[in-house]
Amino acid sequence: MAEERRGSWFGFGFCGFGQAPGSGRGRQVLSPEPLQTPGSGADVRRVSASWSYTALVTRGGQVRLSGAARGAAGGCRDAWASEAQLVVLRAGPGRGAGPELQAWAPASAMRGEPLWARALGPEAEAEGAARGEPPAGALSLLPLLPGARAYVSPRPPFCRALAPELRARRLELGAEHALLLDEAGQVFSWGQGRHGQLGHGSLEAEPEPRLLEALQGLPVAEVAAGGWHSVCVSETGDIYIWGWNESGQLALPSRSLAEDTKTIPREASGLNEDGFEVRRTAKGEDGAPAPFIAIQPFPALLDLPLGADVVKASCGSRHTAVVTGTGELYTWGWGKYGQLGHKDTTSLDRPCRVEYFVDKQLQVRAVSCGPWNTYVYAVEKEGS
């Protein structure tokens, strides 16, 4: 039986407020760095990052903040960070009492009074258990609340109900849309659609959760929402992606990347003999220039190099990160703050492997993106 080795967390990207992984050394980190955490970094089981601060949740139930928000507090099963509020799920006040949801002003360091609090009641747990949810503390669900009848939003109303027939397993929020994965592996989306992020083939908004018909019949294992784009991973390891491609976050040819001669990819077209930069144009399969895609309004299948299969996905504001079955990390999209981890600030419109983990013989197991940064959990390879 394979032993689950304790791994550790790494971070890269924007840290302009001093949040992990930076520590005042500069505004961005361009290559993965181990997170400095007091005690063992392996203790951290979840990372939730907002723009100006990051919340780490340890196995022992501590939430540790770094960046514009600082401090730590115990008794927390889960945390969800946004600029407006830090939402934590805490064990209830007494035995038998259900968990309590608390929202804190990030600057408060969780001292004093929360902005608001809501007891979730023991029935939330029981209901969750009946549906096969792991017991308290094992899996993070926020912004989906235990019991999946409601979710937290960074804008009022802060607690929003979900129709019970939705049977939500996972919920992800973008800047102006929401994605929901249900027990049957179906995906729903709602909110603004002007950037194609809902995936229904139009740019219209949807006020209520609407089933993604394009994915019907495909059992989906995971969903992830970026600022204006959406990703889902099927149980067979395929990625589907849709929404805004303005920085190449869909891994489709992006006009702004081709025309901006400052952002030349590493394996660049470079200079021709006359010393002029060669404009990089997207090429179709037959060598003819492929059209640029600004918006992809319905899911597109994305192939990773070498046909790798994907097990995990996470999105930042304008970038995408996925973990493969063989423990590799691929990133693409907006790279200006080093959030792609390729040692530079280039934006990319195709998936590129983060070589750091390969070089260090680390197997990536999980990824969690903040808006402009990326956090990765990796273990040492066997026999290394």
């Binding site: 302009g16 407020f17 514009a68 600022g227 204006w228």
Partner: protein
């Protein structure tokens, strides 16, 4: 060699002085009053950036400004534009201000100044007024600096002769013999216009009202390039905004003219529906607000003035606007077809929310199998020439095609 190095230094020094004089000297004054929509973390970053600027730490200030710009840009793109809180646009403008001035701090070449001007323009296009409209003033200084550095005017020797004129293809001037034309009036009184056209909502062409405006004699491609050439403007690319291939992009006026007007363009480009006169006050001097606007309810400041500048052949599909419109023709001619709002059903508006004010019908090439009622809908049409004003009543459907290189100015009022 000595002369070459003297000039840029002196020029750059004068530029720095002029910019410094514009900006508040202390970090307390280099600040914005912001409401609760802007999070504490952003306010903190703004203060930090101001402090770095006042402390002369240019490259760190630039970094902070970039983060301010990138974050506020994301907020500007969240939700419908009309719901974006003005404070976010002010934050964006602030980021542009600091970045633009920092870019000019070094004794730089014209590239740095042009880049700074572009940043100012982004702040003007997407931001909101801050610190007494400071971006307009900064842009004016940068523009003056760029123009003084240039050799006077693009002389004929510099441009290949074929590029000099805008292209002109013999265009399909519509056969209007079977069409009812828009009535014309010469300088009607306010009362006459109000009673017979404004109140009943009837289109009319006003002659003799705008024909003496300075723009009529002054505006040419050369003049526009001189006044606004290095300014960044939004351009619509694609035959019409209902097409799938249609997009909006940003470029300088010079780039627009060279790419979409002078040369053989790959696609149609249209500098359309842009408040150019807010961005470049110097051009605002060449136009006036038609007196008839005083018949409306709104204040003069609420009147939206848009520029419409493009090559022969630009098309605005049949659509309606929620305000009264005076369309003033300055350069070139436009063919315009008008339908009353009462005919809306026969015009088959799109059903989507996004395009519900736009007809599905291609006016000059209608698909009458798909849109049978269109053929019978009564209409008015005209060719609008320089010096003339077309009154398009509120919600009146209009279709516009440029017959020549064209510049129009529209006034939306209520």
């Amino acid at each position: 060699m000595a002369e070459d190095t003297q000039e840029p230094l002196a020029g750059a020094g004068a530029l720095r002085e002029a910019l410094r004089a514009l900006l508040p000297p202390t970090k307390e004054e280099l600040a914005l009053e912001l409401g609760e929509n802007v999070e504490r973390s952003v306010v903190q970053l703004l203060q930090e950036a101001a402090e770095l600027f006042c402390g002369g730490r240019r490259s760190e200030c630039l970094q902070a400004s970039e983060a301010i710009l990138d974050y506020s840009w994301e907020r500007l793109n969240t939700g419908p534009w009309r719901d974006v809180h003005k404070d976010w646009r002010r934050v964006y403008a602030f980021g542009c201000l600091l970045k633009a001035v920092c870019l000019c701090e070094e004794p730089g070449d014209t590239t740095a100044v042009a880049a700074a001007l572009k940043v100012c323009d982004m702040g003007l296009l997407m931001g909101a007024a801050i610190l007494g409209d400071i971006l307009i003033k900064v842009a004016a200084i940068l523009q003056a600096h760029l123009r003084s550095g240039k050799r006077p005017g693009p002389g004929p020797a510099q441009e290949p002769p074929s590029m000099k004129k805008a292209r002109y293809d013999p265009v399909s001037v519509p056969d209007m013999t079977s069409e009812r034309t828009v009535p014309r009036l010469h300088c009607p009184s306010l009362e006459h216009f109000r009673k017979y056209f404004l109140v009943p909502g009837r289109p009319v062409i006003l002659e003799g009202v705008a024909d003496q405006w300075p723009c009529m004699k002054r505006w040419s491609l050369e003049y526009i390039q001189e006044i606004a050439g290095c300014r960044t403007v939004p351009v619509e690319v694609g035959s019409r905004y209902t097409d799938e291939e249609w997009s909006q992009t940003l470029m300088t006026v010079n780039e627009f003219i060279s790419r979409h007007i002078r040369s053989e363009p790959k696609d149609v480009g249209y500098l359309a529906q842009h408040q150019l006169f807010d961005q470049i006050p110097e051009l605002r001097q060449d136009i006036s607000i038609p007196d008839y606007c005083c018949l409306g309810d709104g204040a003069e400041e609420e009147i939206t003035i848009n520029a419409w500048f493009g090559p022969q052949g630009t098309v605005s599909p049949l659509h309606q606007d929620p305000q009264q419109n005076f369309l003033v023709q300055v350069m070139g001619r436009k063919y315009i077809r008008l339908y009353s709002p009462q005919e809306s059903e026969a015009l088959y508006p799109h059903e989507t929310h996004l395009l519900h004010n736009t007809s599905q019908v291609d006016v000059e090439n209608p698909d009458l199998d798909k849109f049978p009622r269109f053929a019978e809908a009564p209409s008015l049409s005209c060719i609008l020439s320089p010096g003339e004003i077309l009154f398009i009543p509120l919600q009146y459907w209009h279709y516009v095609r440029a017959l020549d290189l064209s510049f129009s100015v529209s006034f939306w009022w209520s």
